[in-house]
Amino acid sequence: MKLLFERSQSGRYQSLLPDCDVPAFEFDSSLLRAAPPRLPEIAEVDLDRHYTELSHETYGVNTGFYPLGSCTMKYNPRVNEAMAALPGFTELHPLQPEETVQGALEVLYDTGKLLSAITGMDEMTLQPAAGAHGEYTGLLLIRRYHQSRGELGQRTKILVPDSAHGTNPASAVMAGFTVVSVPSNPQGGVDLDALRKAAGPDTAGLMLTNPNTLGLFDPNILEITRIVHEAGGLCYYDGANLNAIMGHARPGDMGFDCVHVNLHKTFSTPHGGGGPGSGPVGCKAFLAEFLPAPQVEKRPDGSFGFFTPARSLGKVRSFQGNFLVVVRALSYILTLGREGLTEASATAVLNANYMMHRLGKAYTIAYPGVCMHEFVMDLTDLKDKTGVNAMDVAKRLLDFGIHPPTMYFPLIVHEALMLEPTETESRETLDAACDALLEIWQEAQGQAEMLHTAPHTKTIGRPDEVTAARNPVLRYAFEEN
């Protein structure tokens, strides 16, 4: 496919702006750039076709099944897009006087209240722009808490299970802590003995997701949070896997003090090719004074307004967060409501178990037994017997028109493939995916070489990532072309 710059023709121009109707202003020549930027010069029709071509080389949820474990690629309802496009939202300047944005403030307030109810928290900030950003914000709440009690100097460690997503330890370091990795037990849960040994007067807190990255609900969750609390630490809930338990359990009841949720996972806002997402952070009342500013309150007269929490940690982003993403999530929550959210979670878990049950006939399930919304297959055995590894299976799935599952995560399982079907898939879709994976398993028994070089039916084969990293070419080079 041609790049925009390769379609560019000098002199092509779209008539988008009128001539200036006020006198021109001349900057001093010392302030001007020497040459114009080499942006594409392209007619609208060619620009349109360019992106149509790119869209044909993009796999969206609208294209097909997307069983990426840990990503919750559920359907993105179109009504949410329509709501987020309303001019009464899109045209609002973030610094408009409060009386002129009462509807927008209510969106933030209501969404905060709904998310609090779903997670069992007391207050919510919608400022963080992504899950990792939310993790950082939640850890800052923990940091401020210990600081307020004069214990920050002593409480320097955050406990993180070895099965955790990479953002967890990275966020902990950004928040000024060091990371202590807590091993998992043979059942895939947190090793309680190891946790008891690790928790102590230097513990600031624990970061945990439940169900965990193996798709398992840790039955010892109350003991886990008790251990950390007894040591004087706080418990942070990574809400990436919330889709398994809405309406069936709440992190606030499990002993967690603060949480983040991913609107672009659990709450159906679209992934956009990598963003924008939104990672609201909720907390129990005792942490609310540290939340980022501004927060939204409802005043006695019923109007809404911003305020700065008493000991606010400041800001983690400009303005109030990814507002238009919040609009989408609000529409979704209002649509599903009490019954719908509960049913969505249960169906997500059902779909995962259904697939696991079918695939378990050939593949090794890393942790057999009832799973939650996702499960992990361990292909070490397949690799040892046939040479076909998780990467090969994943790439071959592309030839069947299905997006591969998450590969090589979590790190504690070798040759891992993690599948999360979500609730918005029909039985036929699940069956077709299982059929494809079972067929690939058969192919592995005799056609390993074909699998090593998969995919075969896409416009490109496996890219040379080694050269891309050794000799990075990160922009178009006008001089060479």
């Binding site: 090589y408 990532e465 080694v466 990293a469 050794r470």
Partner: protein, 127 residues
């Protein structure tokens, strides 16, 4: 299977060491580079930095992973192999020529293995 030159000493963490008259030369073994796969970048310390036996002093990136490199000796970095910054593939192609750092003022070393002991160690790890 693995090239293990007789004249070098080895750390259990798969670094080789050569004593060049008080200046200790450190690199990654053939076993290490095979395990790591194609190396795309080497993050070296700076000259003058202190290194401590048994602690990490550098890391090595492949496309999908990062691996720590541990110092077999305690001392001061006298020289770094700048060639590796532009051509990290050298570690894969010629691990015993592609030294990472040269250390001076060495005051302590890790428990080092000779070639035979290291070969046994590698075999044991692979089981």
């Amino acid at each position: 299977m693995y090239n293990i030159p007789e004249e070098l000493k080895y750390a259990k963490s798969h670094e080789w060491v050569k004593d060049e008259g008080g200046l200790f030369v450190v690199g990654l073994t053939d076993f290490a580079q095979q395990e790591l796969g194609d190396i795309v970048f080497v993050n070296l310390p700076a000259e003058g930095d202190e290194v401590v036996a048994g602690e990490t002093f550098a890391d090595v990136e492949s496309v999908k992973a990062v691996a720590d490199v541990f110092s077999p000796v305690t001392g001061v970095v006298a020289e770094i192999n700048e060639e590796l910054l532009d051509n990290p593939a050298l570690v894969n192609e010629a691990p015993y020529d592609a030294w990472l750092i040269k250390v001076s003022d060495v005051t302590d070393t890790e428990e080092l293995l000779d070639a035979a002991a290291y070969e046994a160690h590698c075999a044991a790890e692979k089981e």
